[in-house]
């Protein structure tokens, strides 16, 4: 099994030394202490672990770290720029789109990927794009609202 020694995370080159078959989620959380990405199911069913690989929403719990090497990895910790929240982070606060908020990181990463591909999604497109993410507290309607708010902001810029 090969080793992975560097990762490009949130615009920084980070040094690690892990087996390439280790899950990306485990490396992010345990080796790099980036704990914003969450473990929820380990089978890619809930989306709590979602990160971006070269802009693509990816379930880090079922992605081997070897497949992320050389790619630009963006986690929830990397969305804030110079102390300014990403419009979707702002929108989640505005729409009160969380309760326990354990799903929130994954929701925001999936939503950010959706908006970067489709800046003005309609409700059906949001539902289809986000259906792989579970919010057990049931704040789906508010998450849809938050994505719509962020979408409108982006367009008005």
């Amino acid at each position: 099994m090969g080793r992975v020694t560097t990762l490009n995370v949130n615009g920084k080159k980070l040094t690690i030394d892990v087996d390439s078959s280790t899950s990306l989620l485990s490396v992010l959380r345990n080796d790099l202490k980036l704990t914003g990405s969450k473990y929820g199911c380990g089978e890619g069913q809930c989306g709590a672990c979602t990160v971006l690989l070269d802009g693509q929403a990816t379930r880090s719990c079922i992605t081997q770290v070897g497949r992320a090497a050389g790619k630009a990895i963006t986690t929830i910790e990397g969305l804030e720029k110079d102390g300014r929240l990403h419009p979707l982070q702002e929108a989640f606060i505005k729409a009160d789109a969380m309760q326990c908020a354990y799903c929130t990181s994954g929701m925001i990463m999936s939503g950010a990927a959706l908006l970067s591909k489709n800046p003005r999604p309609n409700k059906d497109e949001i539902i289809t794009g986000m259906n792989g993410n579970i919010c057990r507290c049931g704040t789906y309607q508010r998450i849809i609202d938050a994505i719509a708010i962020a979408s409108a902001q982006e367009v008005s810029k």
Partner: protein, 737 residues
């Protein structure tokens, strides 16, 4: 104003929720508080019951400072020398947003901005004993206590400020978080008043708090207080914590419940670098320097388990019908226990139509998105465990018992948790992590896998409900006999005015481990009752709303029914082909609700369309809810929407399948929970009763959805479904419809 204490006593305890009474009480000394929290001013909040006992003893917040420190303390508030306000409460935050709503209550009474109020929650070394965060009790019990404390604190602070300013107490007011005299020529900040003090004050009971109609901070949609930490991923849940030198744990589980360890071979695991195997009776687990090694080591252990033959899903309802001991009405014979009214025989004799039906509910899983997790650390014989639980003091007791420690040697700290829904009352993971940490002599983190959470936690009880009823042709219900087997007594009492009733709950020997769940048995009891009521209305050819209103005098229940019906447009139009509408109402934990649902039957397409079941899609839900004075409208709406969404799972498709001691679907790929695609348009109608004390609202809004949807399916298809989940594989409409 309803007497608050009488209201509290009137709520029955629930057998699946209250596992035990507090084991012992602290005896506090004033110097302990100052030692623990530093200089400033500390206000001690006695429990409501203690308040009741002290009534009439002439206590005053402006007294000499020689009051007894009460044994039963609900919370305390510390004002530090920097003017920061910290509230200490044993309640925990797991998504219900009480960190926000309690801060609103304190900020309101102290007349300070909410940003200066911080809550320290669920830490057994820092916060007073609390039974647990369940039963929707925080808003009706903790919030009023904190309000009184903050109001009393404000008066004491005004006195102190007046002395410091050298003016009469009556002339000092708080304006923009500053104490000012009558002409605003002199002023002090909160920090300046608290500076250099070492005061401990017991708050008096006879303190007036702001009435809901005058609220300015409470009653408004304040944003979740630490929302920024959650949207940036900074918040540290238990599973995110790290301690110096921390190792990772993994428990080796048997394939089936009730297994006994016969032999084990741990050589291969022990040969792995840094791995330690811990074997103690039936417990076997490993610790390792990293998560992957812990997983590999656990898999390398070969265990021979012996297990007995065990029941399966198919036999469930027969098993539950064999009661253990007879009990009537209110569960554990609590204050809400009901006596039979009138005579069922006479009521049935007076009826024009009689109906007898059975309803069932399945075991379902809480599946909180954060599975059980714990970090345990020993310092000598003192144990500290961080864990997500709804009962920090209960878990402390479990740990003390498991390790033969006195409770003062155990500290449980609960970081704001990734939800619970009644599923995190117990301390299994905390005990396992502590056992591994003791053997390793290092801190250990243990995070359950999703499969472990589905298998080794506990379930919402399954149940069987038999109802026998009688009704006259004019729509008057004459008899109501109701038997609930196993699922519980919550929400079993009726708001229908029926002269002859006999309502009983029968405990059973549950084949699976079961416990609390959001709303508990209120979901099962409302499903059975409100489905049966719909069946009676249909049998009489009466409108289901009119039939309910004919049999209900309670004005709050009528008000929510009428509010929901109005917004939904009940009876205004006939649903189009393939659609149906249903209504249900309910009452539990001082909350009243009415739910209207519209569903669509989506016929399958393709060549096998005629043979396949149709999919049930919930199109629209309107729920009216009255929980007294509304504390935070946006968070209340969020809770109600969340409860309705969670209810969709139990109503339509969630069900734990088991066979011979095994859970057959312990994964999200085998256990479907509601997703974006399942969500109807949800409209919440808040009936804000500023004249009635606020009740909790995290649970009760869950109970109306299942019967409203079941009744809507009947309306659309003519098929009456009497088991939850209603349509895990869809529904096959009757030929005639």
């Amino acid at each position: 104003m309803i007497d608050e204490l009488a209201e509290i006593d009137a709520i029955e305890t629930e057998r699946y929720e209250l596992f035990e009474l507090p084991g012992y009480k602290f005896h506090f000394h004033r110097r302990d508080f100052i030692k623990a929290f530093g200089a400033g001013i500390i206000f001690i909040v006695p429990l409501s019951r203690a308040l009741a006992q002290q009534r009439g003893q002439g206590e005053s917040g402006r007294g000499s400072g020689r009051e007894q420190v009460p044994d039963d303390i609900g919370a305390w508030i510390h004002i530090d020398e920097d003017g920061g306000v910290t509230v200490f409460t044993g309640k925990v935050e797991m998504g219900q947003n009480i960190r926000t709503s309690l801060a609103q209550a304190v900020a309101e009474e102290l007349h300070v901005p909410i940003s200066t109020v911080h809550l320290t929650m669920g830490d057994t070394d820092l916060t007073p004993f609390d039974m647990g965060t369940f039963g929707s009790r925080t808003t009706p019990t903790m919030a009023p206590q904190l309000r009184k404390a903050a109001a009393a604190a404000r008066e004491v602070l005004i006195d102190l400020a007046a002395q410091q300013l050298g003016v009469a107490a009556g002339s000092v007011k708080i304006v923009d978080a500053r104490f000012v005299n009558h002409d605003k020529s002199k002023s002090l900040s909160l920090a300046e008043v608290a500076k250099g003090r070492k005061l401990v004050k017991v708050i008096p009971e006879n303190i007036a708090t702001t009435q809901p109609k005058d609220w300015t901070i409470a009653g408004t949609s304040v944003t979740k207080v630490d929302a920024r930490d959650f949207v940036t991923g900074k918040h540290q849940y238990t599973s995110d914590l790290t301690r110096e030198g921390m190792l990772y744990g993994k428990v080796v589980r048997p394939a089936t419940f009730n297994s006994t360890l016969v032999t084990s071979d741990t050589k291969a695991a022990e040969a792995m670098p840094g791995v330690k195997v811990v074997h103690d009776g039936n417990f076997i687990g490993v610790v390792a320097p990293d998560q992957q090694t812990a997983g590999r080591a656990a898999s390398a252990i070969a265990v021979d388990w012996k297990s007995p033959g065990q029941p399966s899903t198919a036999e469930l309802f027969d098993i539950l019908r064999k009661p253990t001991t007879e009990r009537r009405g209110g569960g554990e014979g609590g204050p809400g226990a009901a006596r039979p009214q009138g005579s069922i025989a006479e009521g049935l004799a007076a009826a024009d139509k009689k109906l007898e039906q059975t309803y069932t509910v399945a075991y379902i899983a809480h599946a909180p998105l954060e599975p059980r997790a714990a970090v345990a650390e020993w310092n000598g014989d003192k144990l500290t465990v961080w864990t997500g639980t709804q009962r920090p003091f209960g878990v402390r007791t479990e740990l003390a018992e498991a390790f033969h420690l006195s409770e003062d040697k155990v500290r449980v700290i609960v970081p704001d948790t990734g939800s619970g829904y009644g599923g995190k009352h117990t301390g299994e993971c905390a005990i396992e992590a502590a056992r591994l940490a003791r053997a390793a002599a290092k801190p250990v983190k243990l995070v359950w896998t999703r499969e472990e959470e589905f298998t080794w936690a506990y379930f919402r009880p399954a149940g069987v409900i038999d109802i026998k009823s009688g009704v006259r042709n004019d729509g008057t219900i004459t008899a109501w006999e109701f038997h609930n087997y196993n699922s519980g007594a919550s929400g079993i009492q009726i708001k229908y005015d029926i002269p002859n009733s006999d309502i009983q709950f029968h405990p059973a020997n549950s084949p699976l481990r079961q416990g609390s769940y959001r709303g508990l048995a209120a979901t099962a009891n409302h499903f059975a009752r409100e489905t049966h009521i719909d069946e009676l209305a249909h049998a009489l050819n009466l409108d289901p709303l009119a039939f309910r209103l004919k049999n209900i005098k309670d004005e709050r229940m009528r008000a929510v029914l009428e509010a929901a019906a109005r917004v939904f447009g009940w009876g205004q139009t006939k649903p189009v082909n393939g659609r149906g509408v249903g209504i249900a109402c309910g009452f539990e934990k001082n909350g009243y609700l009415a739910t209207c649902a519209e569903i669509a039957i989506d016929k399958p397409l393709g060549k096998d369309a005629d043979k396949s079941a149709s999919k049930v899609r919930i199109v629209r839900v309107v729920e009216a809810f009255d929980c007294g004075a509304v504390v935070n409208p946006v968070h209340l709406k969020n809770q109600i929407e969340g409860a309705i969404t969670m209810a969709i799972g139990g109503a339509l498709f969630e069900s734990i399948q088991f066979e011979n001691g095994k859970i057959l679907n312990p994964k999200f790929s085998g256990y479907r929970v509601p997703r974006f695609i399942d969500i109807p348009t949800i409209e919440v109608v808040l009936v804000d009763r500023k004249d009635i004390p606020s009740a909790g609202a995290g649970e009760t809004p869950i109970v109306g959805l299942a019967p409203a949807v079941g009744n809507a399916i009947f309306n659309a298809t003519g098929v009456r479904l009497r088991s939850l989940p209603l349509a895990p594989k869809g529904v096959t409409p009757n030929a005639k419809s």
